[in-house]
Each structure stands twice: as structure tokens, then as C-alpha cells.
């Protein structure tokens, strides 16, 4: 089964939305999480879990458009998005290691793309 381009595009967009999950969860973890009330009123926590879920829900229908062994590796783009988003929203710093990692993940998914066609 050939993997269709819309499926790859959908997985990539799903990972971008899902990547906001860890960003919000990180913000959530800075607050007290001991009491039930503080958990259900922590909108970062709720938002983080919600975005994680949206990412997964968008990923599943994409599997109709191709092979799992092609589409699943594209989930690794999440790491790329999280690295960029944590600089933008959490004030974290990039470093040489992260840049190498980002480059390799992009190269890796490109190889998957070449292998699928």
C-alpha cells in the first residue's frame, strides 16, 4: 500500500498540536498538584492532556492513508516541535546537541519518505 501525502501531512500536523501538550504539562507541573481541587482547576494540566488527546485523535484516521511503518516514524517530529516551542513559550535555550537532534530527526523522516515511494 502506497502511503498518501495527505496522511503524512495529517500526522505532521497532529504532532504539532500534540507538542503543545508537554509545554502545557510543564507549566502545570510548576503548580501544586497535591489536592483534587488544585488538579481540576489547573487549566494548564487540563489543556495539556486535551491537546495530547487531540494529537492522538488526529493521528488515528491518518493511518487509513498508508502504512504504519511509514506514518509512525513521522510522530518523531513531536521532538522537533517541543524543542522549538519550549524556547518560545518556556524560555528554554537551544544547544548544539538539540540542533543535531533536530537535524537528524528531519533527515530520518526524509529517509522514511524516500523508502515509502
Amino acid at each position: 500500500m502506497a502511503t498518501e501525502l495527505w496522511a503524512i501531512a495529517l500526522v505532521s500536523s497532529a504532532t504539532l498540536i500534540g507538542a503543545f501538550g508537554p509545554i502545557l504539562l510543564k507549566k502545570a507541573s510548576e503548580k501544586k498538584l497535591s489536592k483534587i481541587k488544585s488538579l481540576i482547576t489547573n487549566y494548564h494540566l487540563i489543556g495539556g492532556v486535551f491537546l495530547y488527546a487531540i494529537g492522538t485523535i488526529l493521528f488515528i484516521p491518518a493511518l487509513k492513508g498508508g502504512d504504519l511503518s511509514v506514518l509512525y516514524p513521522f510522530v518523531s517530529l513531536t521532538y522537533v516541535w517541543v524543542s522549538f516551542l519550549s524556547v518560545k513559550f518556556l524560555g528554554e535555550k537551544m544547544n548544539v546537541m538539540k540542533w543535531w537532534g533536530i537535524g537528524m530527526i528531519i533527515l530520518g523522516v526524509s529517509f522514511i519518505g524516500i523508502g515509502s515511494s
Binding site: L25, S69, Y79, S83, M104, G115
Partner: protein
Amino acid sequence: MHFTIKVQYKNKFNKKDIKTIEKNKIKMTTKLWAMGLVLFCTLLTSTAQIFYKFGVATLELNILSIITNIYLITGLLLYGIGGILIIISFRGGEVSVLYPIIATSYIWVSFLSIYFLDESMNFFKWLGVFVIMAGIVFIGYGSKKGTAEGVGVI
């Protein structure tokens, strides 16, 4: 011999240093359960992908078809349990150690796709899998505990 080493240690480190060494030893043992737990989670979330793929084969766009799809529900359940356990395990370990273990999921999914979905791998697909894994290892080493990466990505 034993005695001389002991003397050397005594000269090299003061009490505070020895305390930090002891602390790190405790940290190392906590890492082991975290590593085991992450590996277990990785196998759960990889298996979830196979269930998703089985699930979408019979999926139609109506609520009843979605909520009665046993494959999809099993997949989501496995993924959910895996996700919660990964967040717990990140409290007991460093990102640089746990990320490489999570990265093995790309190998598991490739093998599971071959055996359960009759998919085929080729040179470029395997190359892609290993280059992606190497990339995740690099990001893990570039990240510290307490960063967004430390929350855990699945």
C-alpha cells in the same frame, strides 16, 4: 592496597563530597525502575499503534461505530496507560537516559508492522528509523530534567 585507596579517598574528598556521592548512588538505583518502566511503556504504546491500524480498517464516521470499535478502544487504553506511566517514570530518571529507551519504539513498531500488518521494510526505511533514534538520543542529551522534554513525549 585497600588501605591506601581509602587514605587517598580521604584526602581527595571532604565529607560533603562523600554525601553527594552517596546521594548519586541512590539516584542510580531509582533510575533502574524508571528505565524498566519506560521500556514497558514503550512496548505498550507500540502495541497500541497496531490496534489503531486494525481499528481504522473497519472504522466508519458515526459515533456508534467509533465507541464500539474494540480495537480502537484497546489501543487508546494501552496508549493512555503508557502515557501515565511514562510521566511517572520521568520523575525517577534523567531525560538523557530515558529518551534513548523511548526511541526504541520505532524499532518495535517496524517489527510489529511486519508481523501483524504484512508491511515491508527496506534499506531507506530502516536507515530512517535509526537516524531518527540517533536524533532523539541527541535531543535527550541536550535536555535537562525539569525542561519540557522532561515531561515525556510519547
